[in-house]
Point group: C2
Chain length 260, copies 2
């Protein structure tokens, strides 16, 4: 393969289950010379791409990883699939890889995947049926004041709130602090739920209220959390955010008019 | 198949390209007796599921569609895949189907897909790398005052804004009105972009500024629009929202430490 054909793809692999990786993402991984990514994600997919060169690095080495991918493409003429879990464009590697490769002559393409908001919502019911925000509580690269301002704005707009990176060992209180802000605006009985390890064998989820999730000790870095808005309710153990359809149940059985 | 095994799946088929339908969604469609949905989506997927019973209805008949799916499952003991484009849980059919089936004894499962925010973002670059909101400008079921309040709140939180249903024949001015609100808070040169017919053969996209997109006459109901935040910039014709990585380009070539 000549250098001019070399390309970098930033590939979202979805939540973890192989059957939630799009055929597009899988084909691109199979077509590339090198699979690069955070070590846990490489571990997850390596059986799907036997015989490939694997390059992995740890948390916090994102820039290093992008620079190495660029080196593979530009100096060695290799095609690279740089993988992110979920969607590579949502708190993933897409932006940094595009920035790193700028001016190099190496083209970068972003391949989307199912992000945690959507895979989490499907398990909890239908909490994202109306307008919502995605907020990460990681204050490694965003100041807590900015996060706080966003949580308040999300409440002022009566948005459903989907929380990424709710807590970690280094910042165990971020999630409870965030809930305290939400509780100033949203009712304590606003529906709330979380999913841990979405799409993995240890998947766990629960539906409760905002007040209850504030005191729930199960929320850690492997969780995605969704807090409803004023139109959300719990039905049969699932969270639904109403879009405003007027549901009038008909007593008679109707005959479908367009069955083929 | 007995009635007790009958199940309704609400399936997100992604933006349109077959290679962006997850294997999970495809397998479920293939395993069901009936494929139901808005007529254009059925048209899109019917070659993937030959021999299935197809039930389709038009825009505005969402409740009727859900009630008919329930009838198929409960009265005829059939399994049904009710499809939505994008993600079934984002402005799709998941919530209404869960509500309609409540109390019927028929289980409803939600199968996520890639929603327009993510497929649009991948084409435009990496605009959703940091916190963002999804807002629909359709005022059929949400009052314009609520939409306006949400647009303002999104600006106050310095969120990236992803706009669904920006305009239609019945509401041609909603998008320009929304831009006017955003322009009160965001700088006129804030990066903005749209994709029309994502994942279809007529796909088209453009990157410009917020001021320019306000006057762009290409925005219609087939478009998804993304407006950046204060950390967004345009690089090589793509929109990137910075996550805050400090990019220090190294002059020396580094030797990868974990290549296998």
């Amino acid at each position: 393969m000549t250098q001019n054909n070399a390309l970098i793809y930033v590939v979202g692999i979805g939540p973890g289950d192989f059957d939630m990786i799009t055929p597009q993402a899988l084909e691109i991984m199979k077509s590339c010379d090198i699979i690069a990514g955070y070590e846990k994600y490489i571990e997850l997919v390596k059986e799907l791409v036997p015989g490939k060169i694997l390059f992995y690095s740890g948390m916090g080495q994102e820039l290093d990883r992008c620079q190495t991918c660029l080196l593979f493409a530009k100096e060695f003429g290799k095609s690279v699939a740089l993988i992110s879990s979920g969607d590579s464009g949502v708190y993933g590697m897409a932006g940094l890889m595009l920035e790193t490769a700028s001016g190099s002559g190496i083209e970068v393409k972003v391949i989307p995947g199912i992000t945690a908001a959507n895979s989490c919502a499907a398990i909890l019911g239908a909490p994202l049926m109306n307008d919502y925000v995605n907020i990460s509580l990681s204050d490694l690269m965003t100041e807590w004041e900015v996060i706080e301002r966003r949580l308040k704005a999300a409440c002022q707009g009566d948005f459903v709130v989907c929380i990424y990176n709710p807590a970690s060992k280094k910042r165990p209180y971020n999630f409870k602090n965030a809930c305290d802000i939400l509780l100033k605006f949203k009712k304590p009985d606003t529906p709330a739920g979380f999913v841990r390890n979405i799409g993995r064998c240890e998947q766990k989820h629960a539906v409760m209220t905002l007040k209850e999730i504030r005191y729930c000790d199960d929320i850690d870095m492997f969780c995605t959390v969704i807090i409803g808005n004023s139109s959300s309710f719990i039905l049969d153990g699932k969270i639904i955010t109403s879009r405003g359809y007027k549901i009038e149940y008909k007593s008679e059985k109707k005959i479908p008019s367009a069955v083929h």
